[in-house]
Symmetry: C2
Amino acid sequence: MSSNPAAFRRRNPLTGEWVLVSPHRNNRPWSGATEESSTTALPAYESNCPLCPGNARANDTVNPNYDGTFVFKNDFAALTSHEIEPVEASPLFQEQAAVGEARVICFSPEHNKTLPQLPVSQLLAVVETWKREYLELAKQYNCVQIFENKGEIMGCSQPHPHGQIWAHQHLATEVEKEELSQKAYFEEHNTSLLADYAAAESKDPSRVVCENDSWLAVVPFWAKWPFETLLLSKDGVADFTELNDTQSLDLATIIKELTTRYDNVFNTSFPYSMGWHNAPSNLEDKSHWVLHAHFYPPLLRSATIKKHMVGYEMLGESQRDLTPELAAKILREVSSTHYLESK
Amino acid sequence: MSSNPAAFRRRNPLTGEWVLVSPHRNNRPWSGATEESSTTALPAYESNCPLCPGNARANDTVNPNYDGTFVFKNDFAALTSHEIEPVEASPLFQEQAAVGEARVICFSPEHNKTLPQLPVSQLLAVVETWKREYLELAKQYNCVQIFENKGEIMGCSQPHPHGQIWAHQHLATEVEKEELSQKAYFEEHNTSLLADYAAAESKDPSRVVCENDSWLAVVPFWAKWPFETLLLSKDGVADFTELNDTQSLDLATIIKELTTRYDNVFNTSFPYSMGWHNAPSNLEDKSHWVLHAHFYPPLLRSATIKKHMVGYEMLGESQRDLTPELAAKILREVSSTHYLESK
Ligand SMILES: O=P(O)(O)O[C@H]1O[C@H](CO)[C@@H](O)[C@H](O)[C@H]1O
Ligand SMILES: O=P(O)(O)O[C@H]1O[C@H](CO)[C@@H](O)[C@H](O)[C@H]1O
């Protein structure tokens, strides 16, 4: 179907939203904005960086001389611990409290490293940090959002390798959509949506990027970003608390491979937002939920030409030119050794 | 409520999605990406521009020497007129045809003009063009999406003032959400959602930007972009075919005022994506629908600092710092004379 030059739509079963695919449009010329590609080599330590070991942050707290990962409370958290006064109910003016907290996770003390440049042992430390933080925060909050914005283009204000956690009582809109869809699917089929999806994709190599015993990385059938991927637990694990040592190590390994493949597509540090969707922590029965990460990278045709999700996409629905199958092929065919290492 | 320093959430009744508001976070420092602000004056005619009168486009068609608006078939349309072969139904792999067409509307022959710089008479010509195109395309397609991407930051590849129309059989995801919400509201209340909303906002000045007899521009209660606005028909008009001459002229007038106010916030040509939501054209009864435009401008704190809808927003839900009430106040307090005219 991907060789068919007609436009078509595909449905994301997790959100119920559609994406418009226009494969014939791949070769349209581009004379719009291009992004800067930062090629300047960064130092391993930067005295002005608020995330480097031993440096002071905005509120004058001094970072410890950490040498693995380092987690601290976000100095500019979007969530607060106190509640607003409730607003009288009206279908048009609905406002509710958003109680929660936000943390920052430094992935490495080295200012100039990115995930694919870390050895698997250090990536395992990142995975273990995610698990530990999740375990602690999930006791208190129903929705623990662990994510990474990578690259200036993704609004990342600090090049130092780091991710974030925003944890709160309420289910975020996207998590709620996925909860409803997975629940409805389970009720109808008595199997979980993402387990069935992983099984179907494992059998057909066309959208698979890489996999190991515990994890599968695919460009989903309904991908909206050009090189979007979905990283799925193959064992039907529902959240980080259930990950055993093998699954954690396999996760570190596949993150290294997937992010290396990204960087190798355009020989650049590939920007993205990625994040985890764990089962809501207050669910009694999590059988319908499969732990997964979404990678949403904006680049389209080079290190400097990104896909703009603008007018039509904001008002209508997401649109893509490159088919998911072609994106998967490109990611599969690049080397799994990082371009900077193989130099 | 906007003076309350706690984070809170608000619900968009058109889509059912929530936005996280963090007013206490307004003053966080920014050391991330800034956008280029183009201050170079453009010529009124540019020989390389595919939209200027008399110039050749990609496919060697030559533009007429138009002197009002000019509409042509998009040379790189995302929609095609032929259908894909249907894919066997499966809840996880749903694919469908997307039959339609796309057009480009040049707003003015002058390469260096933007909407707020056009006199009302020329803006009326733009409105009349939208109406004419809508009328023609709505006979053939259920969903006619009329929009404008303005500025490089919004993926606009040509500075020449222009908008687009993507028209197709199926309802786009966002339109379908709004159709379902407006329909459900009407069934419950026997009044239309947006008519009730417009009436409530008209009474309370806190989110109103400007209004005239036929139109109301507000920063909606649930706005996700910092300076997002919703432009609403006050007469409950459902689509462009119903607009009378007064309503058309009033629309030209309010577009001039609203876009002028945008430019005056940062004394820059304010980028945005804007677009119209007409009632689906195949609806027999349109009583629940009110014609409206959404303006989604990305700027946050200056001509070069934009809001990044990234990690948390992509995986959780939209987040804003500035309250809608403060954004409305800023838009209301700037001059309604364009900063370039008043120099
Ligand atoms: O059609 P244009 O202006 O070349 O392209 C622009 O608008 C389209 C519709 O919003 C988007 O799909 C593209 O990503 C954007 O670059
Ligand atoms: O928290 P940061 O890195 O300063 O900010 C970045 O990530 C946040 C969470 O995705 C976004 O809300 C901001 O718009 C973005 O600039």
